[in-house]
């Protein structure tokens, strides 16, 4: 994000403490995540320390602090998926990209997230890539699945 983008977002706010959450939302809408620079600029604007802003932001799982990849992989960890081995798909992705949950692969193509239920438990274990839902996934089939998005 450029300086003007921040200015545009900030111009809608008065600069009081209660602006933190809506400001964070706008920034995440625009940039996809909350960067260190964004927190620094917010701190200057609101005159609240970066640490306090981060404390508020990290309370909510909605805010992310890592740059998202071009495609987002969501692995379901709900009860049904867990029973059917969703954990293994997740671990397989972690090994493949060498990243942890919530992070982005080195080439920037994918980012990995865990979600708790997608509401399609009959398809367990479920993996969602962007808007596509994949059911009955097997660890061995994941690589094939990703090929479409590369």
């Amino acid at each position: 994000m450029k300086e003007t983008d921040y200015d545009k977002i900030f111009s809608r706010f008065k600069g009081v403490e209660s602006d933190i959450i809506p400001m964070l939302l706008r920034i995440q809408e625009k940039e996809g995540y909350i960067s260190e620079e964004a927190v620094m600029r917010m701190s200057r604007f609101l005159r609240i320390s970066e640490n306090q802003i981060y404390g508020v932001a990290s309370f909510y799982s909605r805010y992310r602090f890592n740059k998202p990849g071009r495609n987002s992989i969501k692995v379901c960890m709900g009860t049904a998926c867990h029973v059917h081995g969703g954990k293994f798909s997740c671990e397989a992705f972690e090994w493949q990209f060498g990243v942890k949950i919530g992070e982005r692969s080195d080439d920037g193509k994918f980012d990995l997230q865990q979600v708790n239920c997608m509401g399609c438990c009959t398809l367990a274990p479920v993996v969602q890539i962007n808007e596509d839902i994949y059911g009955h996934t097997l660890v061995t089939g994941l690589k094939e699945m990703l090929r479409k998005y590369e």
Binding site: E36, V39, I48, Q52, Y54, G55, S58, F59
Partner: protein
């Protein structure tokens, strides 16, 4: 307690009490010596109600309210330890302990273990399992003992997070954290530093700064307030680990800067093991900075202390006895003509030592050649600084001010107690203007940050002064185009000043070593001509005021009288029953740097400058000088924790220092050593039995010193009618950057020192926060010049050549570099245009 509207009657544990209205149940119980276990409540902090340990039974309440958050009301019937409550507390404690490594607390052998863990050894005892460095000081331990916790029925869940040891001064083991939030509230409410916050939520909650940064990178001031309030061993001081409970506390005055905070020295056996602030004090009210909080014990307890007299025989230092040391010194001094004698005292010495030192020079040596190192520290602006100190307002005025202007002040590590005052003031609505070319910790609270380009400070200030006047005068000086401050910003700041009814200008030490510091300070003085504007210079030396009042300068006699006045000299001479020499042929400390040679140089609490500057150097200090520096006779002196005495702080408060421990081995207070030498020389008037005798004598000469026994500690600016003659006047020519010398260098001498020794030499953590021999450069300049942090660079100009280590920081303005000089180094011109290249060896 008197009955009336302001009090309510309550019943606690079947006993009736009258307590003031509006307090909480916990406070009411504490006032009446009823124990309610707490972990998250702290008397300095707002109630939190997080640990649930203080639940009580109140008749008429459906549930069990927490005592720390429930206010008392008329007719309340409270029970604090019924069987049901104790059982619930025990459950809650077990839940806390299931996440807190506490095997020792519930160990079946706990009782027996305590009985046998005391063994007779030379070293500290460590028998038994000791997992936590905070053993015996842990509040959770107390609560566990009170509730008789024997087991943990809940599954143990170990967080297994890394112990954070990367920051100086304290370690953080969040495996022990019970999330009571004391440190977070301390950091946010009381210190207002806002470094600590709760991060994440639910089980993952942890305390710390943003983005997993270190405390060093997130603006922590290392005040240690969080460490003081931690009820567990999560936060523990590195230097005080495993020390256990202190035996006693001694209240004294911190001697690391001119603020003069009151602190409690924690003493165990014959060592000072730590220091804590005095709560409710009129100067620092429960606050200390990193130096007072963490540096005292390491500075005075170091194994490298000079504890016996030494004599140097052709570069070999030989330990001698006091008798021999005194005779040697007396012999040398007796054969020394008055004009060949020089004495340099430290502005860190107590008033009593300074008084005896100047009396020694004037009476025993018949010479006015006594000076302090403050002269070279303040350089050309010394006289102006003195005259500003004469007008200094006090911290009480700062608390009342509606506008505060900070000039060259950075309160992160130095004077962070003032920083807290400023942040509190800003929260009250006081408008703050800060004037500094580098980014610093006041920018977040300042309404206006005037950021002049380095070298243009005086002009910008002059323009500001002109703008506060009305009419023609406002338009007079023209602001240079590259001044760095826009006319609008300046006008806005001037408006703030004009509108203010009570304004305080605080002067930090960032510009004091500039060559034109006299110009900057004179301009500030003009600003202070406005009756609504008060000035508050913040001296870096704790007893600078005392050096003036005790007359530790060639130009000044005690009580600040000019030594050139015959009447003053005669008056003092009658009091001393001696004849004082006339003040001619003025010598001063800065002459030593210019290579003038003396027969005997006597350093009282100072380190020698450079090479051999005298035929015979008597060195009296708490540490031996560097091996490379020549000192003929070394006399071991006592540190401020080991002597009684007084200091006068920057605001002119007369404050006491108290002896906490006996001076180690053969060390003696400065005044005692001086008296012994004087007596050996056969000089009368040096037969003081104790500090009291000296204080009585000072009080008869210096009226402001009356009440030394029970100082009122009321602030009062110095009264001083002498002026200082300076060997080098200020330089005005602004160095120009050129293609050959593209960087503008500013230098600062070691600001954080005690008796001439930088704290970083002896205090472990201080090496990180007060680095020396480091040159700071902007990240963009560094990228262009292809240098990175940690590189060695050679900095050159026509008159300067230096080797320094690079530290890349974003806050350094572009095109400029700032060097933190090592002890004894100087920059010939400050600011200075230089070139810089990497040392490719």
């Amino acid at each position: 307690m008197s009955k009336g509207k302001s009090s309510v009657s309550i019943i606690i544990d079947n006993k009736p009490f009258q307590v003031p209205k509006g307090i909480t149940i916990l406070e009411a119980a504490e006032q009446n010596d009823i124990y309610i276990p707490t972990l998250c409540a702290h008397k300095e902090l707002t109630p939190f109600g997080g640990c649930r340990m203080c639940i009580v039974e109140v008749e008429g309440f459906r549930n069990f309210p927490t005592a720390c958050t429930t206010p008392v009301s008329e007719g309340m019937i409270i029970r604090t330890h019924t069987a049901q409550i104790q059982a619930m507390r025990s459950d809650i404690l077990q839940l806390l302990m299931s996440e807190h490594t506490s095997s020792c607390l519930v160990c079946a052998e706990n009782e027996e273990c305590k009985r046998y863990s005391g063994t007779i050894r030379k070293s500290g005892i460590t028998t038994g399992c000791r997992y936590c460095s905070n053993d015996d000081q842990c509040e959770m331990q107390e609560v566990a003992e009170y509730l008789g916790a024997k087991e943990i029925v809940y599954p143990i869940s170990y967080r297994n997070v890394r112990v954070e040891k990367e920051d100086p001064f304290y370690d953080r083991d969040y495996n022990l954290c019970i999330l009571c939030g004391r440190c977070v509230r301390m950091c946010q409410e009381i210190r207002t530093a806002n470094v600590l916050a709760f991060k994440h939520s639910g089980r993952k909650t942890v305390v710390g700064p943003a983005f997993g940064r270190t405390h060093m990178d997130s603006g922590c001031e290392f005040c240690g307030a969080c460490v003081s309030v931690c009820p567990t061993g999560t936060l523990s001081e590195k230097a005080r680990k495993w020390e256990g409970k202190p035996d006693r506390e001694v209240v004294t005055t911190c001697s690391f800067c001119g603020v003069g905070c009151q602190m409690r020295l924690l003493v165990k056996g014959d060592h000072v093991i730590g220091s804590l602030p005095v709560i409710g004090d009129m100067v620092n009210d429960g606050q200390l900075c990193v130096r007072g909080r963490f540096c005292v014990n390491e500075m005075v307890n170091n194994y490298q202390r000079l504890v016996r007299p030494f004599k140097t025989y052709t570069d070999i230092r030989v330990e001698i006895l006091w008798d021999e040391a005194i005779t040697t010194a007396a012999e040398q001094l007796k054969n020394c003509p008055p004009d060949q004698f020089g004495m340099v005292a430290s502005p860190n010495c107590s008033n009593e030592s300074l008084y005896v030192a100047q009396k020694f020079a004037r009476q025993a040596m018949n010479s006015h050649n006594i000076d302090t190192t403050a002269r070279s520290y303040y350089g050309s602006g010394f006289n102006e600084f003195l005259s500003l100190m004469k007008k200094s307002v006090s911290l009480d005025d700062v608390r009342k001010a509606d506008t505060i202007v900070c000039i060259g002040l950075d309160t992160r590590f130095g004077r962070s107690v003032i920083g807290v005052e400023l942040r509190k003031a800003a929260a009250r609505g006081t408008r703050i203007v800060t004037f500094n070319s580098r980014d610093h910790n006041l920018t977040l609270i300042a309404e206006k940050w005037l950021q002049p380009t380095i070298g243009h400070e005086a002009e910008v200030l002059e323009k500001l002064v002109a703008l506060t006047k009305s009419g023609k005068a406002a338009a007079a000086p023209k602001l240079p185009a590259d001044a760095g401050v826009s006319a609008d910003d300046l006008a806005c700041a001037a408006e703030l000043l004009k509108a203010s009814k009570s304004c305080v200008v605080m002067i930090g030490s960032d510009f004091l070593q500039y060559e034109n510091s006299d110009h900057i300070l004179t301009t500030i003085e003009q600003l202070a001509k406005n009756p609504a504007i008060g000035v508050m210079p913040l001296p870096a030396q704790n007893n600078l005021n005392g050096t003036f009042m005790m007359g530790a300068y060639p130009e000044l006699l005690p009580n600040g009288c000019a030594s050139s006045s015959k009447a003053s000299r005669d008056k003092l001479g009658t009091a001393w029953k001696a004849k004082l020499p006339s003040a001619k042929g003025q010598w001063c400390e800065s002459m030593l740097q210019q290579g003038s040679k003396l027969k005997v140089l006597y350093l009282v609490g100072e380190t020698p400058h450079g090479d051999k500057v005298a035929d015979f150097t008597i060195f009296q200090n708490i540490y031996p000088p560097d091996k490379a520096i020549h000192a003929d006779l070394m006399l071991p002196a006592a540190a401020f924790t080991e002597e009684d005495g007084t200091f006068i702080n920057g605001e002119g408060r007369l404050q006491k220092i108290r002896k906490a421990v006996e001076p180690p081995a053969d060390t003696m207070p400065d005044w005692k050593i001086l008296c012994l030498i004087a007596q050996e020389m056969g000089i009368k008037g040096f037969d003081y039995k104790s500090v009291k005798d000296i204080q009585k004598e000072i009080a008869s000469i210096v009226p402001a010193f009356k009440g030394y026994d029970k100082p009122s500690r009321a602030p009062g600016p110095i009264k001083c009618d002498g002026t200082l003659t300076l060997s080098a006047p200020g330089v005005e020519n602004m160095p120009k950057r050129s293609k050959k010398y593209p960087f503008l260098l500013t230098g600062s001498v070691v600001a954080h020192s005690y008796r001439g020794f930088p704290l970083s030499l002896y205090v472990n953590g201080a090496k990180t926060i007060f680095p020396e021999g480091v040159i700071e450069i902007n990240d963009e300049d560094a990228r262009k010049a292809k240098i990175k942090s940690g590189d060695d660079v050679i900095v050159e100009s026509g008159t300067l050549k230096g080797h320094w280590r690079v530290s890349v920081i974003a806050r350094q303005p572009r095109g400029t570099v700032h060097v933190r000089l090592r002890l004894g180094e100087t920059v010939s011109h400050n600011p200075h245009a230089v070139s810089m290249r990497k040392n490719d060896v």
